[in-house]
């Protein structure tokens, strides 16, 4: 029975990981684009994205999940059939906005002198960003980023409110039915999965921080 439960939990955790990975891979670059829009010289663009970020950060993620899933009904369409896709969309938008705010803070913390030094050396704007600014920004935002990423791992369990997504918490609930087991045991097992994975992430971020500590900003 133990192995059976473990297998079910592991399958659920795969779904959790999938949601986590998709969100991270998409939200990291999209967040950077949003950050650029928020810092754009073109005022309307700046304001549009500031409002979007305000709305996304100002409402619960769970509400956003429901809106993405059932929102189409507002326009006379049917609710989204694929709840996993809906969850991905909601998570990507939500996390892209949080990342954007972190990126923006990081980019704005780099002194003007770094840009100007690049400019007087004849570098292009892209070169200045990619060769000079980016690594300094990454170094500065690593700590807040690790916080967000760890929160994301745990937030994925919100997806089970949409139904049809058997991530690890849902899997733990399901497994009690199959094996007539008190709910608390598989849930504790789910907790162990989270702890182990987040432990690994913490080590990874620690490693990255150490790697980038060869210079001081």
């Amino acid at each position: 029975m133990f192995w059976g439960v473990l297998e079910q939990l592991a399958l659920g955790f795969l779904v959790t990981l999938e949601l986590f990975a998709i969100t991270l891979v998409l939200a990291l670059p999209i967040g950077l684009l949003i950050a650029f829009c928020m810092m754009s010289k073109f005022r309307p663009l700046r304001w549009v994205f500031k409002v979007i970020v305000w709305v996304v950060r100002g409402t619960p993620l769970m509400l956003q999940l429901f809106i993405v899933c059932y929102g189409p009904a507002l326009f006379g369409l049917t609710a989204m059939r694929d709840s996993f896709l809906a969850a991905c969309i909601a998570f990507v938008i939500n996390y892209a906005c949080y990342f954007a705010v972190i990126y923006k803070g990081g980019i704005e913390s780099i002194s003007k002198g770094q840009y100007e030094a690049g400019q007087v050396l004849g570098m292009t704007r892209t070169q200045i960003f990619s060769r000079i600014v980016l690594l300094q920004v990454i170094r500065r935002i690593l700590a807040p980023m690790s916080n967000e990423v760890i929160t994301l791992v745990k937030d994925t369990s919100l997806a089970n409110t949409l139904g049809g997504i058997v991530e690890i918490i849902a899997a733990a609930k399901a497994v009690t039915g199959t094996y007539a087991l008190p709910l608390i045991y598989p849930l504790l097992g789910a907790g162990v999965f989270f702890l182990l994975f987040i432990g690994a992430l913490t080590l990874l971020f620690g490693f990255l921080e150490k790697k980038l500590s060869y210079f001081k900003v």
């Binding site: 100007e116 400019q119 060869y214």
Partner: protein, 291 residues
């Protein structure tokens, strides 16, 4: 005709007119010292020369060619501004070294990027040439071109490394080649910044108070390096509060007050026999300063 001619530079920030018509000229190989009290517009002038700011009015000629003319109301593209910038170098008061790169990389970065652009251009030319060639020749041609490109890349790399080592020797930092900026003293950082600016062989090298952010015991080493750069083909503009340095090194001195040139001439004229009252007052004050 002088090597550098600046005519009627004006610059406003909002309602605040910071440069109110600055004109001067400079011969090749000369050193110009700019002195003046705080807020007079010295930094703004250097920033305008380096196109970090675009003057509202005025004209700039370099080697007889018009490099900038505010009367041409064309908005300058980024690429055009970058080309113009390469004629000038600027050493900042705060050094602004790139913290994530070693001393060596700090100096080579910009050159390497320029070399890469050159290589990319060559590659495009080659690709076009291949298209024009008969089909059966193309493969052979491609192999030849690849060899040429590899050769260019190697010579570029070697040339840059050699030049950088020469520059490091010139600023006395050969043994710091692989150090990171945070491992250096302020004076050493500023010397790296000087080498970095020299690496692109600008026609005119500008310094904005290069020693003002340094402890007094470190200013000497930086000023010595700048003095050592003086030669027949390096033209420099130095904004400084070091009157002794201006006296000893400069060929020309300009005193700027409130966005205008109040006084200009040889060091002997400006320091020994200033005509304007403002200059006299400024010099009196700056001589008293240490106490």
């Amino acid at each position: 005709m002088a090597f550098l001619e600046v005519c009627g530079y004006r610059k406003k920030f909002g309602e605040n007119e910071v440069l109110k018509g600055i004109s001067f000229s400079l011969e090749k190989g000369e050193v110009l010292a700019i002195i003046g009290s705080s807020g007079g517009g010295k930094t703004t002038l250097l920033r305008c020369l380096n196109f970090l700011e675009i003057p509202d009015e005025g004209e700039l000629r370099l080697g007889g060619e018009t490099l900038f003319d505010a009367a041409e109301k064309l908005r300058l593209s980024d690429t055009r501004i970058r080309e113009k910038r390469l004629h000038f170098g600027l050493v900042f008061q705060q050094f602004n070294l790139f913290p994530q790169y070693t001393v060596f990389r700090n100096i080579t970065l910009a050159q390497t990027l320029l070399a890469k652009q050159e290589l990319a251009r060559k590659k495009r030319e080659f690709a076009a040439a291949r298209k024009g060639a008969p089909k059966e020749r193309r493969k052979e041609l491609k192999a030849e071109q690849k060899k040429i490109l590899a050769e260019i890349r190697d010579t570029q790399k070697e040339r840059i490394a050699q030049k950088t080592d020469e520059l490091l020797a010139r600023v006395g930092l050969s043994e710091k080649r692989n150090a990171y900026p945070y491992e250096l003293s302020g004076g050493q950082q500023q010397r790296v910044a000087i080498a970095r600016a020299l690496a692109l062989s600008p026609d005119i090298l500008c310094f904005d108070e290069p020693t003002s952010a340094l402890d007094p015991e470190l200013t000497g080493e930086v000023l010595k390096v700048i003095k050592g750069l003086k030669s027949s083909d390096s033209t420099m503009i130095v904004v400084t509060h070091e009157m002794e340095f201006a006296k000893n090194v400069a060929d020309h001195v300009i005193f700027i007050a409130d966005g205008r040139i109040e006084e200009e001439g040889t060091p002997e004229e400006v320091f020994g026999n200033p005509k304007s009252e403002k200059t006299q007052a400024f010099l009196r004050k700056s001589l008293e300063e240490p106490f």
